[in-house]
């Protein structure tokens, strides 16, 4: 890549060597922390994934390198593929629902009177502020089989009886609840970010589109989305990463009900394998596979983002 590409033209003047060095210097504190706290354990993790490393090794037994055995164990294990598929489908559903709802809420905020907009913003901030663990506990309480408010409210509809309905025992329903919780918590970030982008689009452009008689969908497709594409791209990357990695919500929800074996996602599976069962080598290998997978899934968007940076 040429310098020209990296730096916008207005800044494209030759830079002194000291300035380049200053750039690096400024990165030192962050890089040092990242290298120490992420880099070194990451290297350990990769080494671990090629070792027979169980609880006995934690307490000092001899460590043996076993090549790719952990990897072949995983890749030939049906359980792993089930967890993987489940995680991918779940993440896809949550990313799509979060993006759709988030975008709609953002468009809504851009459109309604100020008083309503403030109300929506307050609601979003409140949902956003709630810690993950708290959110799961509270939602779990609302979905409680015996005393949950949802079963009560649904049963008020004539002809509907949800008393004693267990929302978590069926895996599909379990993931429905999980998706609801995660979407509820993720929409604020997406909506507020996209809304922030929307406010940057000049009013005249929107007005012009109105006068052209463009429909709402056309305006979004032809005007708003192209202008905000960089924002959408980065938000999607982050959602993909966060939703594929989801741990706390599923783990805490499993504590409240449901079949654990059929509701494990990758994050929980790694945790159960390494810390739960003490199979650290195996857990390490799953983690490595997971990172490779996530890179593959988000490669397209990352490339996009890097291209956007050049413009």
């Amino acid at each position: 890549m040429s310098l020209k590409q990296i730096v916008p033209s207005r800044k494209a003047k030759p830079q002194s060597r000291s300035r380049k060095n200053l750039g690096w210097l400024l990165l030192v504190p962050a890089s040092a922390v990242l290298a120490l706290v992420i880099g070194w354990p990451l290297i350990n993790l990769i080494i671990l994934s090629f070792q027979e490393f169980g609880r006995a090794q934690v307490f000092g037994a001899d460590i043996e390198f076993i090549g790719f055995e952990n990897y072949s164990n995983i890749l030939t294990d049906d359980g792993f593929w089930q967890v993987l598929n489940r995680s991918l489908v779940f993440a896809a559903v949550v990313v799509v629902s979060t993006m759709v709802v988030g975008t709609l809420v953002a468009l809504l905020m851009n459109f309604v009177p100020k008083r309503i907009k403030v109300l929506v913003q307050i609601g979003l901030l409140v949902a956003w502020a709630m810690p993950q663990l708290t959110a799961v506990i509270v939602w779990g309480w609302m979905f409680n089989t015996e005393y949950g408010v949802f079963n009560y409210l649904l049963s008020q509809i004539p002809g509907v009886d949800f008393y004693g309905h267990s929302w978590l025992s069926n895996p599909i329903s379990f993931f429905g609840v999980a998706a609801l919780i995660i979407t509820w918590q993720s929409v604020p970030f997406v909506a507020l970010t996209i809304y922030a982008g929307l406010t940057q689009i000049p009013k005249e452009m929107i007005e012009a589109a109105w006068l052209d008689g463009a429909s709402g969908w056309q305006r979004f497709k032809d005007l708003t989305f192209p202008l905000l594409r960089p924002i959408f791209t980065i938000v999607i990357i982050l959602q993909i990463i966060w939703d594929l990695r989801v741990f706390t919500q599923i783990y805490a929800l499993q504590g409240l009900g449901g079949l654990r074996e059929e509701t494990n996602t990758l994050g929980v599976y790694i945790y159960l394998t390494s810390l739960g069962s003490g199979e650290f080598g195996l857990g390490g290998a799953i983690a490595v596979v997971m990172v490779v997978l996530m890179s593959a899934v988000s490669a397209f968007y990352i490339k996009r983002t890097l291209e956007d940076m050049d413009n």
Binding site: G54, R55, A56, V58, F59, G60, A61, T145, E146, G164, S166, L168, S169, Y251, Q254, G255, G257, G258, L259, R260, E261, E262, L272, L275, G276, S277, G278
Partner: protein, 454 residues
């Protein structure tokens, strides 16, 4: 008393156990007619020690085990089962016997404890003495996480120690973890419900289920309260029908849940669960509340739960104390059923900085005096000779009957992983929800073999 292995701590009973310890204690003490116990607030005790801990921190850190006649040791006690009076006794006795040393009790929660033990005992900040759930002892003994206690076997109680627990604390002929206490489960019932439905206390397991069904159909209550995740209470059905969870066949574990005998047991479990109004995927944590509200006619619970099933000072109960009856779960043949023996073992981590002092504390915890306190509080003492400390009366007799016939889960180093994976809970939830029993059992068998032989 039961430990949910690990993670979610949703093994139910633990939750039940940990709840309202203070209330329970006073209630149990009253039940057992032991009035002379002075309950000392544990906060005060802990405050004092933690104060001195800070003062002694430097000295204890620099002290190595060789010259460590004095030091500060940290003891991990889990949940609220250990009574305050026992904690107090431990601290006072230890500090009297080891002048200049201090003992700090750090109460841990059962949830997430396997993880904490794994990391902490492998690092420099290891506790000096730990309490572990009996079923996961093999997972740590096989990893050589604990100090070899074989030379001290006799000093610690010897043949007087609960044999099943000694077995589980021994690996490859080396003795690592003596028992701490055992729990026992009893069936509690409402006498008035029995009278109303016209049923008698059952004498066999099948009769017991029939009684539950009658109660459920006559009164609409939970015949026996039996939520789907309650696998501890479901195991006796399998055992009494001649089934097993898994057997060791020449070094390989063979899961037995789908054997004909086990299936017969599971079918009985299904009938019992059908007589229950409990959530099909619930755990047994809240059983006594609904009992008090008149929702259950019978429930199987740890012996000390007796104190929670009657009106208390700050918790109303619609059922009176006179109404509460109790019996040991009946077996197939009429005697007491083989019940799951929950409980704890004690161990000294290899990484302990003060193993001698830890051993001294362990001896105190296994002394007749200390174990008497445990017995007086409704916990089955680690020393079999102290069985009578449980007291006399209906409940202690039922406890003894039940404890005499208790049984453990497969003694495999990987058993803790089976518990952690939730496979048994999953199976019983499926059965409770009406899925095919043979299918659920076959799935569970495959998963269990995978873990035990993995």
């Amino acid at each position: 008393m039961m430990k949910p292995v690990s993670l979610l701590g949703q093994g139910a009973l633990a939750t039940l156990m940990r709840k309202e310890q203070k209330m329970r204690k006073s209630a149990v003490v009253a039940m057992f007619g032991v009035a002379a116990l002075t309950l000392v607030g544990c906060t005060t005790a802990e405050d004092t020690t933690s104060g001195s801990t800070t003062d002694n921190d430097t000295s204890s850190d620099s002290a190595t085990s060789e010259d460590a006649v004095t030091g500060d040791i940290r003891v991990w006690i889990n949940g609220g089962d250990t009574p305050d009076s026992a904690r107090e006794y431990l601290i006072e006795t230890f500090e009297a016997e080891n002048p200049g040393s201090t003992l700090t009790i750090e109460q841990q929660d059962w949830g997430g404890l396997v993880e904490k033990l794994t990391t902490s005992m492998s690092g420099s900040d290891s506790p000096d003495l730990v309490e572990i759930g009996n079923t996961w002892a093999p997972g740590f003994t096989s990893a050589e996480a604990f100090m070899d206690l074989s030379p001290y076997f006799d000093e610690l109680g010897g043949d007087d120690l609960l044999p099943g627990f000694v077995e589980v604390g021994t690996f490859d002929g080396t003795f690592y973890a003596p028992p701490y206490y055992a729990g026992s489960r009893l069936v509690f019932y409402s006498k008035s419900d029995f009278a109303e439905a016209g049923v008698e206390v059952p004498t066999t397991l099948t009769e017991y289920v029939e009684v539950a069904e009658t109660l459920n159909s006559e009164l609409g209550t939970s015949g026996v309260y039996f939520p789907g995740k309650d696998w501890y209470n479901a195991l006796p059905y399998i055992w009494e029908n001649g089934g097993e969870v898994a057997v060791n066949d020449g070094g390989t574990w063979d899961a037995q849940l789908s054997s004909a005998s086990s299936i017969a047991g599971l079918e009985l479990v299904k009938r019992a669960m059908d007589s229950s109004n409990a959530a099909k995927d619930g755990d047994e944590a809240e059983s006594w509340v609904a009992y008090c509200e008149g929702g259950h006619s019978m429930l199987s619970a740890p012996s000390w739960a007796a104190g929670l099933l009657v009106p208390r000072e700050d918790a109303p109960c619609e059922r009176s104390a006179d109404d509460l009856g109790v019996f040991a779960l009946p077996g197939a043949d009429g005697g007491a059923a083989q019940i799951f023996a929950g409980g704890s073992n004690l161990a000294i981590p290899q990484a302990s900085q003060n193993p001698e002092l830890a051993l001294s504390a362990m001896k105190i915890m296994l002394s007749p005096e200390y174990q008497t306190i445990m017995g007086n509080n409704g916990l089955v003492p680690a020393l079999t000779s102290l069985g009578d400390t449980l007291g006399e009366g209906e409940i202690p007799e039922a406890v003894s009957a039940a404890a005499a016939n208790s049984k453990l889960t497969p003694a495999s180093p990987n058993w803790a992983d089976v518990e952690a994976s939730g496979v048994l809970q999953d199976m019983f939830v499926k059965i409770a929800s009406g899925e095919d029993i043979a299918d659920a059992a076959a799935t569970a068998d495959a998963a269990i073999e995978d873990i035990l032989n993995g």
